[in-house]
């Protein structure tokens, strides 16, 4: 039988703020471990598994907290056997965590996936007719297309963001996947820009998700501790 443990949802500022009335994993009440200007929001849970409902619950807690404070959402699956262990981590990482919180203050994360119809897909050709050189040429062209697309689509969006993380040409059908840290007051402008870009490029599908808590920008600067 697994022991109950404190499952971590997020690190937040405003430790004095009341915790929202939203249930955590196992429908447990949220609690917080506080240190100086930080709060680690957590709840007791037993035998946590990474099922879709559990992931959504974790996300719901982080999202609710984001409504009235800055949050560093935690990776799913970090837990402590007691409050003392969690407090020790807060104390040890205080400066880095506070720095990251300042960086994401007033911002949300928006996600973008660009889906494309593959052109000159190698698998459409009879295998025997393709030389290695022809294959490499096709791959190289796909790479160039993805880079042009990144410049056309990612560039204007990155200019509306405080920070961005992009991955180019994951596959030919997913040439771009990106995350943007966007000030709340610019979210509408960002979405309008996505619509404008989508209208300009009917050959692509631009799927924008969020606002998310800033998962992609929550890492601290101090390196692997």
């Amino acid at each position: 039988m697994p022991e109950p443990a404190l499952h971590l949802y997020a690190i937040t500022d405003r430790p004095e703020a009341e915790l929202p009335d939203v249930a955590g994993l196992d429908d447990a009440r949220l609690c917080a471990v506080r240190h100086d200007g930080l709060a680690a929001v957590c709840s007791w849970a037993t035998g946590v598994e990474a099922t879709p409902p559990a992931l959504w619950r974790h996300e719901a807690v982080a999202e609710t907290l984001m409504a009235d404070r800055s949050v560093l959402p935690a990776r799913f699956g970090i837990a402590f056997t007691d409050e003392a262990g969690l407090r020790a981590e807060l104390v040890r990482r205080e400066d880095a965590l506070a720095g990251s919180l300042r960086r994401v203050a007033g911002c949300v994360e928006l996600g973008l996936r660009v889906l494309a119809e593959p052109q000159d897909e190698p698998s459409d050709e009879p295998l025997g007719d393709q030389t290695g050189r022809a294959y490499l040429t096709i791959r190289l062209e796909a790479r160039r297309r993805a880079e042009r697309l990144a410049a056309e689509v990612h560039g204007p969006l990155a200019r509306l963001a405080e920070a961005a993380r992009e991955r180019v040409l994951l596959t030919e059908r997913l040439p771009l996947s990106a995350a943007y840290l966007v000030r709340r007051e610019r979210v509408d402008a960002f979405r309008s820009e996505v619509e404008r870009l989508a209208a300009e490029r009917p050959d692509l599908r631009l799927l924008c998700t969020g606002p998310w808590p800033p998962y992609s920008f929550a890492a601290t600067d101090e390196g692997a501790a």
């Binding site: 946590v48 598994e49 990474a50 990776r75 889906l115 791959r139 030919e172």
Partner: protein, 67 residues
């Protein structure tokens, strides 16, 4: 690529984006208990299998690259 309705694609992308965020990003503290990487991989593969259009977009692309 089979033409999947945009709304379905959007839903699938949202779930995929959630998984990428909560399991692969976010702040990491050194907890006493951390979910095993094997468990996370299992969920990830399972979810991808469920996501018909987006899942196959990525796998299809890789298969094409291997051809």
């Amino acid at each position: 690529m089979t033409e999947t309705p945009l709304a379905v694609q959007q839903q699938e992308v949202t779930l995929l984006e959630l998984v990428d965020r909560v399991l692969d990003n976010g702040v990491v503290l050194s907890g006493d208990i951390t979910l095993a990487v094997a468990d996370i991989d299992l969920v990830y593969v399972g979810l991808r299998a469920l996501l018909s259009s987006v899942g196959t977009i990525e796998r299809g692309g890789e298969a094409a690259a291997d051809a």
